[in-house]
């Protein structure tokens, strides 16, 4: 028998399923767990990189940092020997202001999607990045030119026009929920959910994908390729969870989302960390975050030691 789609859910129903709303996320978890003074550690990607490098967590190699308008003149020299690279605002958010260059001849720069930019256009883009157009507070920013991550073959059939990323949300340094975000044509190759990318849940214990969501609606196939997004085992999963915990400890942020990409050769590479990770991860997992966070809050402090975290992760992964 077919079921009729509902137009809304009642608050009591969401509470019963342990769904976390934005207000509660901010008031009960982000504000108490993340000291304001530590925000630059996640908002400034250069600083985040330093934290990662200090703990041996792989990050994309930085080729150059352009800080002043005058430095833009030196840009062609920076990338002469680099056929592929990424331009990224140091304090950007939501993937805004990022240009991925898959090839160039010094005058024309080509993205993986085939769009071409002239050198003057790239220079103008660098200038707008430095002006702070994409920075969080509209302040003057820096442009990072860094290594382009080559997509791992595991994602060949379920990512279109870009590189998927894997988000792990950690609370008190314990991974509580994870998902993989798959670019689509609608998201123009970006792994941003509000632009139409697909999210698939990842089982914390096994690293296997299940379920999926696109534009807050449940799906089970990639909208462009039709490939099933269930049952994909994420390579290097243990290594990835380990890196996420190490980074959360280093950042001293109690509630944090860490974004990884899987490089074809290096494995998990940290892209960025987020002090206010979004809530769509719940829809992808078809499970609420609140119940998992409350479960962790109820544990004694000794349960959070490195040795015992695996038990917590296993317990969380069974929660539905």
């Amino acid at each position: 028998m077919m079921t009729r789609e509902r137009l809304w859910a009642w608050p009591a129903e969401l509470r019963a399923r342990g769904i976390l709303g934005i207000n509660r996320r901010n008031a009960d978890f982000v504000l108490p767990a993340n000291p304001r003074s530590h925000y630059p550690r996640v908002d400034d990607k250069l600083l985040s990189k330093k934290f990662c490098e200090a703990r041996g967590i792989p990050v994309p190699e930085t080729y150059a940092v352009i800080e002043q308008q005058g430095d833009i003149r030196g840009f062609p020299d920076c990338v002469r020997e680099r056929p592929q690279f990424v331009i990224k605002p140091a304090s950007g958010s939501g993937g805004r202001g990022i240009i991925v260059v898959a090839g160039h001849d010094g005058e024309t720069f080509r993205t993986p999607g085939g769009t071409e930019f002239e050198l003057a256009e790239v220079r103008y883009h660098l200038s707008t990045v430095i002006s702070g157009l994409y920075s969080l507070g509209g302040q003057q920013d820096r442009a990072i030119i860094e290594q382009r991550i080559i997509r791992h073959a595991a994602f060949e059939r379920i990512a279109v026009g870009g590189t998927p990323d894997i988000r792990v949300v950690l609370y008190r340094c314990v991974p509580v929920m994870a998902m993989v975000r798959l670019p689509t044509r609608a998201s123009r190759g970006r792994a941003n959910l509000h632009q139409g990318a697909v999210a698939a849940a990842v089982n914390l214990r096994t690293g296997e994908t299940f379920g999926g969501v696109c534009k807050d609606r449940v799906i089970s196939e990639h909208p462009d390729t039709g490939a099933t997004i269930d049952g994909l085992r994420i390579p290097f999963w243990e290594q990835l969870l380990d890196a996420a915990q190490k980074l959360a400890e280093a950042l001293e942020m109690g509630y944090v989302g860490v974004d990884f990409v899987l490089d074809a050769t290096v494995g998990p590479v940290v892209l960025e960390a987020n002090a206010r990770p979004g809530l769509a991860i719940q829809v992808a997992n078809r499970c609420g975050l609140a119940q998992r966070l409350e479960y962790l809050d109820a544990q004694p402090p000794e349960a959070f030691t490195l040795a015992r975290r695996a038990e917590l992760v296993a317990a969380l992964s069974w929660m539905r």
Partner: protein
């Protein structure tokens, strides 16, 4: 104690404190007895006229503050009339010009609540401590009713001078002459200076003009003042007296009743050029009616002592010109409250946090039709020009400044266009927050580029909805008047914001977003 438990207590305490302070002040105001020699009055203007075309101009002078008089509340109702506020620095009076928008019967009602003090305890601002050359020339001028250069004036002045000893007070002699020698005439008696001095009989205004002409001929600046004598009367007549410059101050003289240098405290000055209190150009059938009514002591009367703590919170004691600005500032937190509600409880996203409040605020003080026309036009023109500017690849700050310049030009052009189409624009339409509009255009453009036009339109829709709600709250006049009388009521606003700041329930938008988490409904089985 953690924040979750503390916040409701803090909010409760603030709300209680706010209510208690409002209650206490309202009670003390009602219980307040005016000091001896002080009284409250309501002066009402009722004006009716006919205009055959749009553009007829009604000029009305309003009472202004003096040491003995303070206007603490004012309301002017003028349906179908467009105000053009004017303030003449030369005359230091308060006037308003109202233009008719369409032909037909027109009306205006103005009501002023006035505090009179026999002791003259109000600190009146006197901008005329030093008389400018321009003002001096104006108050020595001869015209067709005050003929300061007429031979009869010169002759009379000469005669009075001859009779005044060198050490005598000539101004006093001139006043005495007018008071004693010019008899109060019947209807038809001369109302100009020369006629009054010639016939030795004149109307009250003729007598006053004679005194002004004599002073001006003596090179002493003098002017006519029109006003009222405040006494309970439902058909009040305007009165005219004279102000003569003595040293660095204007001294009042009233030849009709013989008051010199000091007038009774209930003389209320309204106009300082001898003109009518209400005059009409390009219209007909002007009917004016003035009434004065004594009021019981009540809220807003400014009974508090100027330098006391309660006086600090009593904004009604401030000059009337500041009332409008302060009411506007006091309404802003309510806009913030509405915005916070929509973002925290409803979950509507907008461009910028306070953009909707500022847009709504500008609409409160503009005619909404003009406002909407200008707003939509500026937004569309701004977006088109922003798209064009994108091709020029300008740096951010010069680009934003270019958009700002274009926004300013669009607003000015809109006002001119509306005028050309004879849809007389509201001058306040230009109060639209130009910088906010510029940023909205920039954000709309960038969002549509980065996240798609659908998402940008969704944000714009959210901004419009929240602005609309802010507008309806902000134009609720009773709230503005209440907050102006009791600004401490905003403690309750803070309490509401504290509670909202600790609201951890679901946003309404999340009930839609997470609807898949509710149990799915089963459709009814088809009936056999």
């Amino acid at each position: 104690m953690n924040a979750r438990r503390t916040a409701p207590w803090v909010a409760g305490a603030l709300a209680l404190l706010g209510v208690a302070l409002v209650g206490l002040r309202a009670y003390t105001r009602h219980a307040h007895q005016l000091a001896s020699g002080e009284s409250l009055w309501r002066l009402t203007y009722t004006v009716k006229f006919e205009s055959e075309t749009a553009g007829a101009r009604l000029s009305a002078a309003f009472p202004f503050d003096t040491a003995h008089c303070r206007v603490f509340r004012q309301s002017v109702l003028h349906p179908d009339l467009q105000p053009e506020r004017l303030r003449s620095p030369l005359l230091a009076t308060r006037e308003v010009d109202l233009l008719t928008l369409r032909p037909g019967e027109q009306s205006m009602t103005a009501r002023f609540d006035i505090h009179l003090s026999r002791r003259g305890r109000f600190a009146a601002f006197d901008p005329e401590l030093v008389l400018s050359a321009q003002a001096r020339a104006e108050w020595l001028r001869s015209d067709k009713l005050v003929q300061a250069d007429s031979p009869i004036v010169a002759e009379t002045l000469q005669a009075i001078r001859r009779d005044t000893p060198p050490s005598g007070d000539l101004v006093q002699r001139l006043f005495d002459y007018c008071h004693h020698q010019i008899a109060a005439g019947e209807e038809g008696a001369p109302s100009d200076a020369a006629g009054a001095l010639q016939k030795k009989t004149a109307s009250p205004i003729g007598c006053a003009r004679a005194l002004v002409a004599l002073c001006r001929a003596n090179k002493t600046p003098a002017r006519l003042v029109t006003g009222f004598v405040m006494e309970e009367n439902d058909s009040l007549e305007s009165r005219v007296w004279v102000e003569i410059r003595l040293g660095n101050r204007w001294a009042p003289f009233e030849p009709e009743n013989g008051f010199a240098r000091e007038l009774p405290y209930n003389y209320l000055a309204v106009r300082r050029d001898g003109g009518e209190i209400v005059c009409l150009t390009r219209g007909s059938g002007l009917e004016t009616h003035f009434a004065a009514l004594r009021l019981p002591p009540g809220p807003g009367a400014g009974g508090s002592k100027p330098r006391s703590l309660s006086g600090l919170a009593d904004l009604t004691r401030l000059p009337l010109e500041m009332h409008e600005v302060l009411s506007l500032i006091l309404l802003l937190p309510l806009g913030g409250l509405v915005t916070a509600f929509f973002r925290t409880v409803v979950g509507i996203r907008t461009f910028g946090t306070f953009t909707p409040t500022l847009i709504a605020l500008s609409f409160v003080f503009a005619d909404w039709r003009t406002g909407v026309f200008v707003f939509v036009f500026v937004l569309l023109a701004g977006l088109v020009s922003r798209a064009f500017l994108d091709r020029l690849k300008l740096l951010m700050v010069p680009r934003l400044s270019t958009v700002l310049t274009l926004v300013v030009l669009c607003i000015i052009f809109c006002v001119s266009l509306l005028d050309m189409l004879r849809l007389t624009p509201s001058a306040q339409a230009v109060l639209l927050p130009m910088v906010i509009l510029t940023m909205t255009i920039e954000r709309f453009y960038l969002t549509s580029e980065e996240d798609g036009t659908g998402f940008a339109l969704q944000l714009l829709g959210g901004t419009v909805v929240v602005s609309l709600c802010c507008y309806f709250v902000l134009r609720w006049g009773a709230v503005g008047r209440f907050l102006f009388a009791f600004p401490e009521a905003h403690l309750v606003t803070i309490a509401a914001l504290v509670l909202m700041g600790r609201y951890t329930g679901y946003r309404l938008s999340e009930l839609l977003r997470f609807r898949d988490f509710g149990p799915a409904r089963k459709p009814k089985e088809p009936q056999p």
